[in-house]
């Protein structure tokens, strides 16, 4: 029983750690011992059940890194209590 529980925690950690890292600062990718971007996105994809083939992750990892970094920077300002726009009414005072 304890072994199954231990294995469950290991597999959970294997999924969650890369997810947390993938959503973190792109600049941390070169830390000693850190996973390569390709490896991190492979783990992210596996943990999220995305079924993206490994070969394709090798293609999209670099643009994903750039996109994540750009999104982090763009979302730096405090949004306070601003509500999201949804597709129904983008513009204030729309007739």
């Amino acid at each position: 029983m304890w072994r199954r529980s231990f294995m469950w925690w290991i597999s959970l950690a294997a999924g969650l750690v890369p997810m947390a890292m993938a959503s973190g600062e792109a600049g941390q990718t070169s830390l000693p011992g850190a996973l390569s971007p390709v490896e991190r996105w492979k783990r992210f994809s596996a943990a999220a059940g995305l079924q993206i083939p490994d070969a394709e992750i090798e293609v999209i990892a670099a643009p994903l890194e750039r996109l994540t970094a750009a999104a982090r920077k763009a979302l730096e300002p405090d949004l306070g209590l601003t509500e999201p726009v949804f597709c129904f009414r983008i513009l204030r005072g729309q007739p």
Partner: protein
């Protein structure tokens, strides 16, 4: 008059000839269909010419005009639609193998409205696969070629529409614009392209890409023609809950009012930072021309533009991936490599990033609102470079190498995020004789002013009178 010269006439002149029965809608349709037969094998602008439907509609228009039942400036005019607008009984591929056999059983609202206005539908145009890209190098139906230089892309995703209008294979065309897909082909093909305000034109019966970013609008050779098409397709539609309830104004009423005294905002940051020399020279000359016409040029700043451009990518990646998730899982092999890679990237966007992007979007809309209290329109280049070669993945811009897709979209994307109306008009040619576009951005629901500025510029220059060589 030759078939090409008839097909190349603008709507104003054609309308006069048709109304006065100096030209029959059937003769006009035949002239345009002859041009499609002749040029389409080289350009691949049309996925499906519709000669039977076109001639039937043209005969109906002829009967009505002969009986003095003229329906207005679109009556008898040859129009095409991008192959993602549903036309009852006609295959709708969306440029994809996934929908190669999809035949809708109803017309899109905008197609219904074109029919009501008496337009003649001559065919459905080629596009980037699923409207998700700007090269129109379609892996399933072949690349669309730019009529000005056939080794170049036409821009996209409404590239078939841009090429068809430029080559006189229709008088106007309907396109869709999620991140520049009307304005980029308008710029690269040397035609006029209008992305109206979000909610101005119904999207019911139009195959989506990004629900909160998709817009529908015309491509045409002249600004007046774009106004006529907008007039026909704009307005409330109970079947599209995003559509605004207010009826559209008369877009032709003040189109010739000129720009004297109008404040034109010219962004000091971002839009003019990184352009090809030819584009910068042409756009600066256009601003000078507008100033000579009496407009007041006001330098302005748009601090949120970089973030808005990046976040519009986050939103589109997530929305398109959600839309196509099942197809990506079950028919991965039927999706082209570039579109598949974008859909896969979209699957990796975090829900929190998507939602925060939609929150930051509100801030950008407010920033633009504040700006439009000071100026009537903004004027920028549409694209920082002219059309790249087919198959090229990078371009040189001002000494740097950039991804073709990012370079082509970086001046247009943010206005999909804001939902404001934007017009692209031709403003010159580069050293290879490839067209350059000028982008005119307006206040929400103020298409009339955007069209007025574009019309004043067009009338003061002769760029829309240039035609590409016959293919």
């Amino acid at each position: 008059m030759s078939a090409l010269s008839v097909a190349a006439l603008g709507m104003e002149k054609l309308g006069e000839l048709l109304r006065n029965r100096k030209l029959s809608p059937v003769e006009l349709a035949q002239a345009v269909l002859a041009q499609i037969d002749k040029q389409n094998p080289a350009l691949n602008a049309y996925l499906a010419p519709l000669p039977d439907l076109a001639l039937a509609q043209a005969r109906e228009a002829e009967r009505a005009i002969t009986a003095r039942q003229h329906r207005g400036p679109l009556h008898g005019i040859p129009i095409s639609v991008k192959d993602l607008f549903f036309v009852r009984g006609v295959r709708n591929t969306a440029g994809s193998k996934l929908f190669a056999d999809f035949v809708p059983d109803h017309d899109a609202t905008v197609v219904e409205r074109l029919h009501s206005a008496g337009a003649v539908l001559v065919g459905k145009t080629n596009l980037h696969e699923l409207a998700y890209g700007i090269t129109n190098n379609n892996p399933h139906y072949g690349p669309v070629r730019n009529p000005w230089r056939r080794k170049q892309i036409p821009g996209g995703s409404s590239g078939g529409s841009g090429a068809a209008v430029a080559a006189s294979l229709c008088t106007a065309s309907l396109g869709s614009d999620t991140g520049g897909s009307i304005r980029i082909p308008a710029s690269f093909c040397g035609v006029v392209g209008l992305k109206p305000t979000f909610g101005r034109v119904s999207r019911w019966g139009v195959f989506p890409l990004g629900w909160s970013l998709d817009h529908v609008g015309p491509l045409s050779r002249h600004v007046w023609d774009a106004a006529v098409v907008l007039q026909a397709i704009a307005g409330p539609d109970p079947r599209d809950e995003h559509c605004a309830a207010a009826p559209p104004p008369d877009y032709l009423r003040d189109i010739g009012a000129g720009v004297r005294g109008l404040a034109i905002g010219v962004p000091e940051n971002y839009f003019y930072d990184h352009l090809s020399l030819d584009v910068e020279r042409a756009v600066r000359a256009a601003l000078k021309r507008l100033e000579e016409l009496g407009a007041r040029i006001e330098p302005v700043k748009l601090p949120g533009i970089v973030a808005a451009t990046d976040l519009s990518r986050v939103i589109l990646l997530a929305e398109a991936a959600a839309l196509h998730q099942k197809n990506l899982r079950s028919r991965r092999q039927d999706i082209g490599a570039d579109v598949r890679a974008l859909l896969e990237q979209g699957e990796c966007v975090l829900a929190t990033d998507y939602l925060n992007a939609q929150r930051a979007r509100r801030r950008f809309v407010d920033e633009l609102d504040a700006l439009f209290r000071k100026v009537s329109v903004l004027v920028t280049p549409t694209t920082p470079v002219t059309a790249a070669a087919i198959g090229e993945t990078t371009v040189r811009v001002d000494g740097d190498t950039e991804d073709v897709r990012l370079a082509s979209t970086r001046l247009v994307r943010a206005f999909n995020l804001a939902g404001v109306p934007v017009l692209s008009v031709p403003c010159g040619f580069d050293h290879r004789a490839l067209p350059i576009g000028l982008q005119i951005v307006g206040k929400p629901f103020d298409e009339a002013t955007v069209l007025r500025v574009g019309y004043a510029y067009e009338q003061a220059t002769d760029w829309t009178h240039h035609h590409p060589p016959e293919a």
